[in-house]
Amino acid sequence: MHTEPSRPHTLTNFTASLDHLRGSVLMMSSLTQRNLKNSIRGLMDRDDDWCNNSIADDEEIDLLEMQIDREGIDVMSRFQPVASDLREVISSIKIGANIERVADQAVNIARRARKINEHPEVPELHFLDELVKMAVSMFDDAVRSFAERNAHLAVELKARDKELDRLNRELTDKMIQRMQDDSANLPTYLNLIFVSRCLERIGDHAANMAEDVVFAVRAEDIRHLGK
């Protein structure tokens, strides 16, 4: 109903606490975006250094998830928020959990990439290009919709997730075919299937984040509709 809270609270430390919570979520999402990019780079450029960076930096993201939970509970117990404030706190906590899953998938991609890099390069690697582009843009848009309190953007994400699922299925089928035709590179094809799965999961989490944003902004629960 209202995309932006109209003015600050009379109690300034209430506004400050809410802003700090929001900041933590944004910080966590930007770190995850970076890690995801690094993992993809490590995969596409066949460079283990990027993969290792990504895996190492994941710890910071885990700590941030715990911090977000703590801050959220703190705001609820101290200020007993209602209405838009309450929805914002609850969504922030849930979005934090989703971002952490995305970060985990980035780590999984990095690990798979390292394994792929041990074997010779295959052209099928670039079958992933479209999937990668879509998953990354979905996550970026999910983060943006939270930052801008933009429910429209969030609603679109659900539709794109379906497309991502389709691309994942397509790629899996192609890889299975490849595995039958070219058994020498079977490990690589298998790992590519796993990477595709990670990207598909990232899309799911981005869609979940979108649902939480819509709840925070519009007080609508758009989960589990038309499944």
């Binding site: 209202h2 109209s6 600050p8 007993q80």
Partner: protein, 269 residues
């Protein structure tokens, strides 16, 4: 000014028992001399529910409450336009005796005001002024009311001691017991907990929720969290107008009006 709804929206099966249109306020304006305190209030209050009036100081919530039992008429220079009906009958109808009206409606005030009499004397007062003399009836009423007010165990051995020897929370519960002695249909409560500590407040709130089974309760409170804990419906007033009126859960998770949102989240002023 946003549109005021005239009936509680989204009535589900929860609300079916009892009457939906038990109390109605229709196009109600109220004046203290030249100053208009209430503007065009339209409200429908169902029976056997707790309805809370919230809003900043001076918004008219207490003024409206005190009109239901025509207590505002005791203040010189007041007048009203519009109507208030209970169970279909206007409270301003010439055939309605103000005394009888006030016996059917109990009132609890912000600062508890027991009479300087014994506990027993306080509770039987409304019965005595209605002419009841039978000792057994009076004794029975005292026990019934004190039990309903969750005060019986605490005072049953000192019913003839002064009511003024009780603690603040006990005095307020005594006033509630006194208010229900003549079995009114409706209970009006004007900030009943604002002078009480948290434990006494919790006891009174628990009492309100219990009493809902038998009484229609209207409570004015400036503590929004109390409204959200205790009430089924909440009406938000501002500067003498009704801004929003809805089921409590909706008001506190997703209010329709920006003003309501600003008030309950503490962004007012």
């Amino acid at each position: 000014m946003s549109e005021s709804p005239t009936s509680p929206p989204m009535l589900t099966d929860d609300f079916a028992p009892g009457e939906v249109n038990f109390m109605k306020v229709e196009d109600f304006n109220f004046f203290y001399g030249k100053k208009q305190a209430l503007h065009g209030i339209n409200l429908t209050i169902p029976s056997r529910k707790v309805t809370a009036f919230i809003g900043p100081s001076g918004c008219g919530k207490s003024t409206l409450l005190r009109n239901f039992n025509r207590m505002n008429e005791l203040i010189p220079g007041t007048r009203h336009e519009g109507d208030i009906t209970i169970h279909g009958t206007s409270i301003y109808d010439p055939s309605v005796e103000v005394i009888a009206l006030r016996r059917r409606i109990g009132m609890v005030f912000q600062k508890s005001n027991p009479f300087p009499m014994s506990i027993y004397g306080n509770i039987v007062y409304p019965l005595r002024i209605a002419g009841e003399r039978d000792r057994d009836v009076l004794d029975g009423a005292v026990e019934r009311c004190l039990r309903s007010a969750a005060l019986w165990e605490e005072v049953k051995d000192r019913l003839h001691e002064s009511a003024l020897s009780l603690s603040g929370g006990q005095m307020q519960r005594l006033c509630i017991a006194r208010a229900i002695a003549s079995r009114p249909e409706i209970l009006l409560m004007d900030e009943p907990c604002s002078a009480l500590d948290p434990i006494a407040t919790a006891k009174v709130e628990e009492l309100i929720i219990e009493l809902r089974k038998d009484f229609t309760i209207l409570i004015v409170t400036h503590n929004m969290h109390q409204a959200s804990r205790v009430s089924d419906l909440t009406a938000f007033f501002y500067l003498g107008s009704l801004v929003e009126y809805d089921i409590t859960q909706k008001i506190f998770t997703n209010p329709s009006s920006q003003q309501t949102e600003d008030y309950i989240t503490g962004r007012f002023g």
